[in-house]
Symmetry: C2
Subunit: 170 residues, 2 copies
C-alpha cells in the first residue's frame, strides 16, 4: 500500500529571524533560498493529500509542477533539477453543512489557508541542503516568521526518497 507523507509544514512552524547562517544570504522580505512564488502553482497537478493534527491542525494538498509529476509517476529518484513541490494547507474545520446531511459529525473540510510551502530542486545551487531549496509564503508573500533553516534537518531522515516525504497518491 502506498502511503503519502509530507512534512515540511511542521518544521517551519517555529518563528525565527532569518539569520546569516542560512544556506543563502537573504533579506527579511525574501526567502533565504531566493525562491520566488511560482505564479501558476495553484494550477499544478495533485500529488497527494494529508491531515496534520496537533498544533498544525490542517488539511493539506501537495501539488507538483510538470517535472515533479513526471518523476513521481515514473518513479524517478532522485528528482531532477527543476522539480518543484508545493504544499498548500488550510485550517481543519468541521463542516456543518455536510454533517447535517450525514446525520452525524464526521466531515472536516478546508477552512482558511494557512501558508504555502515549496521545495525546489537544484542540485548545484542547493548542494548543501540535499539539492533542495525551501520556501514559505503567506497571503502570496514570503513568510517572515518562517525559519527556513529548520527545513532541511527535518527532511534528512527521508534521504532514501531524496528528502521528500510525500508519496504519490494514485
Amino acid at each position: 500500500m502506498k502511503r503519502t507523507a509530507f512534512l515540511f509544514g511542521a518544521i517551519l512552524i517555529v518563528a525565527g529571524v532569518i539569520g546569516s547562517t542560512a544556506p543563502a544570504s537573504g533579506h527579511a522580505d525574501e526567502p533565504i533560498y531566493g525562491i520566488k512564488l511560482p505564479p501558476d502553482y495553484r494550477d499544478w497537478k495533485l500529488i497527494s493529500v494529508a491531515h496534520e493534527e496537533g498544533n498544525l491542525n490542517d488539511l493539506r494538498g501537495v501539488l507538483g509542477n510538470d517535472v515533479a509529476i513526471k518523476a513521481y509517476r515514473e518513479g524517478h529518484l532522485p528528482f531532477p533539477d527543476g522539480t518543484i513541490i508545493a504544499r498548500l494547507a488550510w485550517n481543519y474545520v468541521p463542516s456543518e453543512e455536510n454533517n447535517k446531511v450525514f446525520g452525524r459529525a464526521q466531515s472536516f473540510v478546508a477552512g482558511s489557508p494557512t501558508n504555502v510551502q515549496f521545495m525546489v530542486k537544484d542540485s548545484k545551487k542547493y548542494a548543501s541542503t540535499g539539492g533542495w531549496g525551501f520556501a514559505q509564503f503567506k497571503d502570496g508573500k514570503p513568510d517572515e516568521k518562517a525559519d527556513l533553516k529548520t527545513c532541511y534537518p527535518c527532511h534528512e531522515p527521508i534521504k532514501a526518497r531524496d528528502f521528500v516525504f510525500t508519496r504519490y497518491a494514485p
Copy 2:
C-alpha cells in the same frame, strides 16, 4: 471564512443493485447515468481537500476539469454544462515516517485508493436530477456496488450552490 464540503462520497456507500427506477437505463457493468471515466481526470486542477471520519474514514481530493475550475474561480452559479467534478478518496492512515520526525502521532496520509466519484453537469440530459449526472469508479471501472440513485437526494439540500457541497480552497 471559506469552507469546503464534498459529500457524495458518503451517499454512495450503501451497496445496491442498479434498478429500473434510475434516471437513465443502464446495465450492471456501466454507470446508470451513462458516464464514462474521464481518461485525464487525475491531471485536473485541485478544488479542495477533505477528511471524512466514520465508516468512510478517508482523505479526499476534489478536482475539476477546466470548465469547473473556471466557474469556481469566477464564482459562476449554476455551473455551466460541461462541468465535471471528481472526488478522489484514499484510506486515512497514520504515517509512521512523519510521526517519527514530529516526535508524536499527528500525521495522517493517503493510503490505498477507495473509489473515484464524478458529478457531470448536463442540464438537459440530467434535468430530473438537478442537471447533474453521478458516477462512481473503482480501480478504473464502474463500481457495481454504487447505488447512484442515492446521490441526488443527498445533494438536494445544497441546491443554493447548484447541488455542489465543495467550496473552492484558495
